[in-house]
């Protein structure tokens, strides 16, 4: 038997395959296609203190080998998530991570405090990188000092492992990673979407009502792999890699680059069974390559 388990800053995943926030709802949708217990972890939709309606429509645009979204954190608020969504998930043997977004430092702190008291949360992922909300959002993740402050604050509010989710829309992502590590993050996840835009030439308007949106999917994979590699060199905490993963081959690029776990985002839309197929593919690949423990390939890139 190959060993697939990894420890992400205190979150024990039985295998290193997760699903990315905002692409997997609260899990119920994909439970129609396979047993969620087959996954290592599951990150639920970005959660805010109060319910949010999100951005106007359209929110989705397709682009070459990818897509833009400007969903903008439509969610029912943290209390509803705790009461109605998480209990359902608890029957699955899968680590549940709640993705957290705030307008202000205080709001991040408040949400994390409530999650700390809740049942069925294995960790929090602090989204300091959402390109789709006007106030706050990405700006928390583009300045190392602010990024560090956010993480330091939430780190003090919970015993749960804290993952900082990084924005790719920066000059030097390693610098931000080091800042959140200094702030006490137990892990980093990256990349969030890359800010992009598509134009409907017939209507001469942006395709997205929000004008700009976040680019995800295979198109951004080379950017994501590069950033995971840079960050893995820069910090000692584990890295969760994502950005354009649709196949086990994609996932392996991230492991070799230094990711201790990976997440499937838009790939779920391309193929609803993508995440579970990657788990199976990983097991098969390790066997074929006679590698006993997934950890032997993490960061095993030869230069």
């Amino acid at each position: 038997m190959t060993k697939l388990a990894v420890d992400i800053g205190g979150i024990k995943l039985k295998n290193p395959v997760m699903t990315a926030s905002g692409t997997f709802g609260f899990g119920q949708e994909y439970a129609q296609f396979y047993d969620l217990s087959l996954l290592g972890g599951l990150v639920v939709k970005g959660t805010t203190l109060n319910p949010r309606l999100g951005n106007p429509l359209p929110r989705i645009a397709e682009t070459p080998a990818g897509m833009l979204n400007s969903v903008g954190l439509q969610n029912p608020g943290v209390d509803y998530v705790i009461e109605k969504e998480l209990p359902w998930l608890s029957k699955y043997d899968v680590s549940v991570i709640v993705n957290v977004s705030g307008h202000s430092l205080e709001e991040y702190g408040e949400i994390v405090e409530r999650l700390d008291r809740a049942e069925g949360v294995d960790g929090v992922e602090i989204n300091i990188s959402c390109p789709n909300v006007k106030e706050g959002g990405m700006s928390f993740g583009t300045d190392p000092a602010i990024a560090e402050d956010v993480i330091k604050l939430v780190r003090g509010k919970t015993k749960l492992p804290v993952i900082a989710k990084l924005s790719p829309n920066v000059t030097d992502i390693a610098e931000i990673a080091k800042a959140v590590e200094a702030g006490g993050a137990n892990a980093v996840s990256l990349i969030n979407t890359v800010l992009g835009m598509a134009i409907d030439i017939k209507k001469r308007r942006p395709v997205l009502a929000n004008i700009v949106g976040g680019l995800s999917g295979p198109a951004i994979k080379p950017i994501a792999v590069r950033m995971v590699w840079q960050v893995a060199q820069a910090v000692k905490i584990p890295v969760i890699g994502m950005g354009g993963i649709v196949s086990v081959e994609d996932a392996l690029e991230f492991f070799l680059a230094g990711a201790s776990a990976i997440a499937v985002g838009a790939g779920n839309f391309h193929n609803p069974r993508a995440a579970v197929e990657i788990v199976q593919g990983l097991e098969k690949w390790l066997q074929e390559e006679k590698i006993e423990d997934i950890r032997d390939i993490i960061g095993a890139l030869e230069l």
Binding site: T23, G54, L57, T63, G66, G217, P272
Partner: protein, 264 residues
């Protein structure tokens, strides 16, 4: 239950300029389909295009376990769909969404369809007739040759009226005018509407004016098709006027017209 399966293509043929009919063997998925539901189709293998395309179910053959889709060639994805060949595998996910509903007490139903929105009304007309309703079908198209499914509605015994923009077939004008005339003559219990947004808005207004319940099928750009990405919402309000964003893919695509807030 929603399934993500690999279906087998039975045929893919031009049925009107820019309209194709795609028949696919889908196995047990065929047993669960309600009129108004849709599927997400992976139009080509590989990464391009990245997203699946939502297409309504036009009709189902439960015995043969296959379903028909009718799609209009619009852009990249539907253009690629025209390359789909008989016997080819097709990745298809469904049935998705909430279909049309009817009440036992309904006697007379009017179905208003325009463009490719006519397609899902065929399955609805079949079901309504199977449930002994009196079914009127009002169809709008640009020209005679771009009208789809007229024969299918006739076959199930619906009373069909057609309006074309250029008068090349049936009434010369908008299908919504046919609706207003019909409502002046016949007592109707339920309206159904599927077509371009401007048409849907007018039908909604006519329904309101006549205090008739109306179910409208909406379209929105989709990421996942199953409620996970919250990309496909439409603005709604409840009785108290409370605004919400509901998902077209799982709360819809069929909505009560009174619930929908049409922004202009």
């Amino acid at each position: 239950m929603v399934q993500a399966i690999t279906g087998k293509v039975l045929s893919n043929e031009l049925v009107a300029p820019d309209f194709y009919k795609l028949d696919v063997f889908v196995g047990s998925m065929a047993e669960e389909i309600k009129p108004g539901q849709f599927v997400m189709v992976k139009v080509a293998s590989g990464l391009e295009p990245f997203l699946r395309r939502p297409i309504s179910i036009n009709s189902v053959n439960i015995k043969e376990r296959n379903l028909s889709l009718i799609y209009q060639v619009i852009g990249k994805g539907t253009k690629l769909m025209t390359n789909i060949k008989r016997d080819q595998n097709l990745e298809i996910m469904g049935p998705l969404g909430q279909g049309f509903t009817w009440k036992g007490t309904d006697k007379t139903a009017v179905l208003v369809g325009g463009g490719c929105g006519i397609a899902p009304l065929v399955a609805l007309a079949q079901e309504l007739k199977a449930n002994d309703k009196d079914v009127y079908v009002l169809l709008g198209a640009q020209t005679k040759d771009r009208l789809i499914c007229e024969r299918e509605f006739n076959k199930v015994g619906a009373k069909v009226q057609v309006a074309t923009d250029d008068g090349s077939w049936g009434f010369h004008g908008f299908v919504t005018e046919l609706l207003e005339r019909l409502l002046a003559q016949v007592k109707v219990d339920q309206l159904y509407c599927c077509g371009p947004l401007p048409m849907t808005k007018i039908v909604t207004r006519i329904a309101e004016k006549n205090s008739l319940p109306c179910q409208v099928s909406l379209e929105e750009r989709m990421g996942c098709g199953i409620g996970a990405c919250i990309g496909c919402v439409c603005k709604t309000q409840d009785h108290h006027g409370k605004i919400d964003y509901k998902k077209v893919c799982t709360d819809g695509p069929v909505f009560d017209s009174r619930e929908v807030v049409f922004d202009d």
